[in-house]
């Protein structure tokens, strides 16, 4: 059972359902989606949040192994791991879920209104409502408290107008008992109640909003349809300010000492998106304490905001906010030691994340321990484990985190549950049954076209009704439709109905990107009995409404052109067949560090064979050089234990001092050539999936006298010296640490994420050894995100001195001789006091960057998986597929992906194992349908195609002297078709005739 239907709960459910488990997904609100559904865009790619979430919602709803139970609360849990009985209270919806079609008429007719929770009070909803347009399930609930019938005994308008007879006022709350083997808690979070800060005027001044309200304000489906206007006078604001750390890092008024981790980056996102949305030039300013853009790609995002988009960043927390007679807000702040007053039209409070209400009670019932802040207490080196065996946690419940981290945690929790229940895999699941495919051969094309408004994403620019009318007149089009959200669940139903009603045999959808939505629609038409390749998709969002925002007429004309082309092509497309692939159930794990070993161990405990390949002579990777976490946990003891477990696990084959020579094959059937160096022996491993956990390395700087002066160390070296009991370090009186050495600079414009925590951890250790030691940490922003903030506070309380420096005035280190004494002198300018300091250091520790492992490029080439601009492996999607590669069956985790702390590597490693298990748990999967084919008669045997195929999918038939496609391997990229000089090679449903038909339709 997964408790909580936000992105974490959704991901955990999907992973488990795909790897052979029955899942009950229980959500307390009327629909799944969580906070992510409320967001406008997501950082750092500025993807539309709903666009990437919605396919997952639908996938959840339609998955045969997932039962979504909304508007329900967990009441009690009894039993033990593997055998829990959960009582769930399903609250009365007063709408019959079986009968409701989601038509929305009841909501239209209902006369009673209340502020919408989903719109954060900025808009209204009815007494009968679905929280948002794409809600899953698209079944309303009746709010008793404002329903006129329930309050006054008459009305029943909804019942009168409901054609489906789905309204049922007699429903009562139901308690159901569900037997499950494991529980994953992802109840999410509440945002901090900003009204506590009366000095910021929240709830008093109309133009002061919380960040989540601002997301709704920006959203096309929000209360102002995505127009950037302020609440008081509905005018577009010229200046917007953000105040950071509202309810975070505040032990006084908010009584929340932790950092909420996500607010800095979301404020940057909101500022950039606001500038994009604004109809007039918009000035933005972010008031902060430290900017914490520690996630992958976030530092570049911050740079872009400041340097390219002109977002101002001002290091000053705001004391109070005043409102003038125009409704503008006056902020007074200190900048370069001068007081400034500035007027803003709108103020956004970057509210922190709090544990969700009522979880305390739930946790008590479940026997799950909470930490001092009321979040779930995770285990040591077990970030998704709760204090109660068989109950796991994911998402923000175990601490503030962003979407990719929540998704990783969700997959990790799924892997823990899968491990626990490995013996009963497939015992409760059902195979998806499709209706037989309709034979459309011989039929004239009958095309149905569905055009999406995408809220106002498309409809706000493109004249959709006009396009629909135009399309109706095109040859072979027998039905044309427009939808507010073509991707929503009710529209899928509608598409199926229309296919049947009009006997459609081709479907064209004009909506968003096929990258995110094609598979959803293909599944829909398959469910309606059509071969899924009888489908064409046109991206009129990215290619029309987004790029031609300011030219709606031309955008509309272009949409017509594109749909006309797709229709022309659709007339010629044919049903295609997908080859079944048998799955090899073994995994290859590259890298024997903590990440690799954790993945390997989890998969083996789930019952899969694992080949673990390590380049070095011992397992452990970089963790061999790490001794303590910031929390004081003993890394070496943990590592030793992990190595033992891996060594004793019979399903894991360990290859040390081993290189990877070659890699070939495809998901389910990979072949990897390895060489075990000591024996000089080469071997071939057959496996179904591969996990890249090749680790990272420590940057060795050339500056600050590193390598030239015996008292200059990297932070990791210092940690080693402390652990070894080096007396020079233990007795040092003056210790200086310099942060961001090799990070956040021109050469490496990323934050290495771990160094601030590492420095604070080392400083605390040194203070333990010698409380009288003077420790100076020279920093740019202290990034002790999440609960690590408490250690930063502890370090300050113990007298560690933190001195900021500016990148343009880096500290200077020199070796000088004074009075015959050798001195290591550090000079630094303090921008707050405007004073220059010198410190004669006994020890200088450099917090150096985490860099990609030297073997990454070679692995990237061998496995044909990409690296990002910083040299770390690049996942398929930074938000929702954080451990997958675009190459199916290959996954990534640990430092190979990006700098991270040990527990984060563990989470990601378990997530990779979970994703891998979704493949390994199956016996058969299906290959691509739209693949290359070679006309034997026309092939001249020149073999050019073989050279250009990136998947080694073409072989040469010596007997017939022609090239042949291995259908299982082909991904349909089209290189061969483009290169073939004799026109023998083509991609199915994308041959010359299809392309020519499209061109003809265009010109």
């Amino acid at each position: 059972m997964v408790v909580g239907g936000g992105i974490a709960g959704i991901q955990a459910s999907l992973d488990l359902a795909e790897s052979g488990y029955k899942v009950y997904l229980v959500e307390r609100s009327p629909a799944i989606g969580g906070t992510m559904a409320q967001l406008d865009k997501t950082f750092p790619t500025n993807d539309c949040s709903m666009c990437i979430l919605s396919p997952k919602l639908v996938e959840c709803a339609r998955h045969r192994n997932i039962e979504v139970i909304t508007y329900a609360n967990v009441q009690d849990v009894n039993g033990e791991p593997g055998n829990f009985t959960v009582s769930v209270k399903k609250r009365a919806r007063y709408v019959n879920e079986e009968l409701c079609t989601g038509c929305g008429v009841c909501q239209e007719k209902c006369p009673s209104k209340a502020p919408s929770e989903f719109e954060q009070g900025l808009g209204l909803r009815k007494a009968i409502y679905v929280p948002y347009a794409q809600a899953v399930p698209n079944v309303p609930v009746i709010d008793r408290d404002i329903c006129i019938y329930f309050q006054k005994g008459k009305c029943r308008a909804c019942e009168m107008f409901c054609k489906a007879k789905a309204i049922d006022f007699t429903q009562t709350d139901q308690i159901v008992e569900i037997k499950v083997g494991a529980i994953i808690l992802c109840p999410g979070f509440d945002e901090f109640d900003a009204s506590i800060f009366t000095n910021y005027g929240y709830g008093i001044f109309p133009n002061v909003l919380t960040s989540i309200q601002f997301e709704r304000l920006l959203s096309a489906s929000g209360p102002f349809q995505g127009q950037l206007i302020r609440p008081s006078d509905k005018k577009p604001p010229q200046k917007i300010a953000w105040i950071q750390c509202v309810g975070s890092r505040d032990t006084h008024i908010a009584a929340n000492s932790y950092c909420s981790s996500v607010c800095c980056t979301y404020a940057i996102k909101e500022a950039m998106v606001a500038k994009e949305h604004s109809s007039i030039p918009l000035e933005t300013a972010i008031f902060y304490i430290d900017i914490r853009t520690h996630g992958k790609g976030f530092e570049r995002y911050y740079e872009r905001a400041e340097k390219e988009q002109g977002v101002r960043f001002i290091r000053s927390r705001i004391h109070s906010v005043y409102q003038d007679s125009e409704g503008d807000l006056i902020l007074r702040y200190v900048d370069e030691n001068k007081i400034k007053e500035e007027k803003f039209c709108l103020l956004v409070l970057s509210v922190g994340l709090r544990p969700p209400a009522l979880t305390e009670e739930l946790a008590k019932k479940l026997g799950v321990e909470l930490n001092q802040y009321g979040f779930c207490q995770a285990g040591d080196f077990a970030p998704v484990t709760t204090s109660k065996p068989g109950i796991f946690t994911a998402g923000v419940f175990s601490g503030p985190k962003d979407i990719p981290e929540s998704v990783m945690g969700a997959s990790a929790a799924a892997s823990e549950a899968a491990q626990l229940l490995a013996s009963s895999r497939h015992s409760l699941t059902a195979e998806k049954q499709y209706p037989p495919e309709r034979d459309v051969s011989g039929e004239e094309p009958r095309i149905g076209v569905f055009i999406c408004h995408c809220g106002t994403n498309i409809g706000g620019v493109v004249d959709v009704p006009n396009v629909r009318e135009y399309v109706s007149s095109l040859p072979s089009v027998v039905f044309a439709d427009e939808n507010l959200f073509t991707c929503s669940q009710d529209t899928q139903q509608r598409i199926k109905e229309k296919i049947e009603e009009y006997n459609l045999n081709r479907v064209v959808i004009a909506a968003a990107s096929p990258l995110t939505h094609e598979s959803l629609f293909q599944e829909t038409i398959r469910e309606a009995g059509l071969n899924k390749y009888l489908f064409e998709m046109v991206n009129i969002r990215n290619q029309c409404s987004w790029v031609h925002t300011h030219e709606p007429d031309k955008a509309t004309e272009k949409a017509k052109d594109l749909v006309r082309m797709a229709v022309a092509k659709a007339r010629l497309i044919k049903p295609l067949r997908q080859m079944p692939l048998e799955i090899n159930h073994a995994a290859l794990v590259v890298g024997g560090g903590i990440a690799g070993m954790t993945s390997a161990l989890n998969l083996a405990e789930q019952g899969f064979e694992v080949h673990l390949v390590e380049r070095a002579s011992q397992l452990g990777g970089i963790a061999n050089r790490i001794y303590h976490t910031i929390e004081g946990l003993d890394v070496q003891a943990f590592l030793k234990d992990l190595i033992n477990k891996v060594a004793q696990q019979p399903l894991i084959h360990i290859y040390k001092e081993t290189d990877i020579l070659e890699f070939s094959g495809y998901v389910g059937n990979f072949k990897t050539g390895i060489m075990v160096r000591p024996e000089g022996e080469t071997r071939e491993i057959n496996h179904g999936v591969a996990i890249i956990a090749s680790g990272g390395d420590v940057f060795k700087p050339k500056e600050y006298l590193y390598g030239q002066h015996p008292s200059v160390f990297t932070m990791l070296e210092l940690e080693g010296e402390i652990a070894k009991g080096n007396p020079q370090v233990g007795a040092a009186q003056n210790i200086v640490m310099i942060q961001c050495v090799g990070s956040r600079d021109e050469e490496r414009p990323y934050c290495s994420r771990t160094c601030c925590s590492k420095a604070v951890g080392c400083a605390l250790k040194l203070k333990e050894l010698n409380p009288e030691a003077n420790i100076y940490v020279l920093y740019r922003d202290i990034r002790t995100y999440g609960f690590k903030e408490q250690y930063y506070q502890e370090a300050r309380a113990k007298g560690v001195l933190f001195i900021p420096y500016d990148i343009t005035e880096k500290p200077k280190v020199e070796a000088v001789t004074e009075d015959g004494k050798e001195i290591l002198r550090v000079n630094v300018s303090d921008p707050i006091l405007g004073m220059d300091f010198s410190i004669d250091a006994d020890v200088l520790a450099l917090a150096t960057a985490t860099v990609p492992s030297p073997g990454s490029e070679e692995l990237s080439r061998l496995f044909k998986v990409p690296l990002n601009e910083d040299g770390f492996f690049l996942e398929a999607h930074v938000k929702l597929r954080p451990v997958d590669f675009s190459t199916e069956g290959v996954f990534v985790c640990g430092l190979a992906h990006s700098p991270k702390l040990i527990e984060e590597s563990i989470t990601q490693a378990k997530a990779a194992a979970s994703r891998a298990a979704t493949i390994l748990a199956k016996d058969v999967i299906y290959g691509q349908g739209a693949i290359a084919s070679i006309d034997k008669e026309a092939c001249s045997g020149c073999q050019i195609c073989i050279g250009v195929c990136p998947y080694s999918a073409i072989i040469f038939n010596e007997e017939d002297q022609v090239a042949e496609v291995q259908e299982l391997l082909c991904k349909g990229c089209g290189n061969c078709a483009a290169a073939c000089p004799s026109g023998a090679c083509s991609i199915k449903n994308l041959a010359n005739e299809h392309i020519l038909a499209e061109i003809e339709a265009l010109v």
Binding site: N199, C245, R249, D250, T251, H252, I253, A254, I289, D290, R315, S316, R317, I318, H319, S320, R332, Y333, V334, N337, K338, I339, Q733, N734, N774, Y776, I782, Y792, Q793, R796, A797, K798, G799, L801, F802, P804, N827, D830, I832, L833, M835, D836, F837, S838, I839, D840
Partner: protein
């Protein structure tokens, strides 16, 4: 160039009577952004004063006249997210300065002797006039008899007695 290693690292103990609250400071600037005296010239920058205490910059702190322009409104105290008690720190610095150097008479003390408070009258008088109020605020300045009594009381203190050349009523 200040040699930090030679600074008085126990200064915070001397000044704050060992209350460790000051060490919580993370330089957010809330205290300054809410401080009315931060607009003075030179400005009262409580954050910077606290920082000087923490870094042990004794000589520099002794030279600071700004702690004496604090109007004791307590705004900094209200909103400090780290409970540093900046207002207490400000007062503690005053005490420390006075004790550190017995000959040190902060200019503010003479101002208090003259008009009962440190804030100058000129600005206020203009502002009051512009909104139709009496020019002189209803502080002790308005009541010369009471001011005389007040000054007589001050003359009883050691500080004024020993330095009477500075206090001419």
């Amino acid at each position: 160039m200040i040699d930090l290693a030679k600074a008085n690292k126990n200064l915070w103990k001397e000044i704050t009577e060992e209350s460790g609250d000051i060490r919580n400071c993370f330089n957010c600037g809330t205290c300054v952004s809410g401080c009315p005296a931060a607009e003075a010239d030179p400005p009262l920058l409580i954050r910077n004063l606290a920082r000087m205490v923490l870094l042990g910059l004794e000589d520099e702190l002794l030279e600071e006249g700004t702690p004496w322009i604090c109007v004791t409104c307590s705004q900094c105290e209200e909103m400090c997210p780290m409970k540093v008690h900046p207002f207490e720190v400000c007062l503690a610095i005053r005490r420390w300065q006075s004790q550190k150097d017995e000959t040190y008479i902060p200019p503010a003390v003479t101002e208090i002797f003259q008009r009962g408070h440190t804030q100058p009258l000129e600005k206020v008088q203009e502002l009051r006039k512009s909104v139709g109020l009496e020019e002189t605020p209803p502080t002790i300045v308005k009541f010369p008899e009471l001011l005389k009594k007040f000054q007589a009381m001050l003359r009883e203190t050691e500080l004024v007695k020993n330095n009477d050349f500075m206090f001419r009523g």
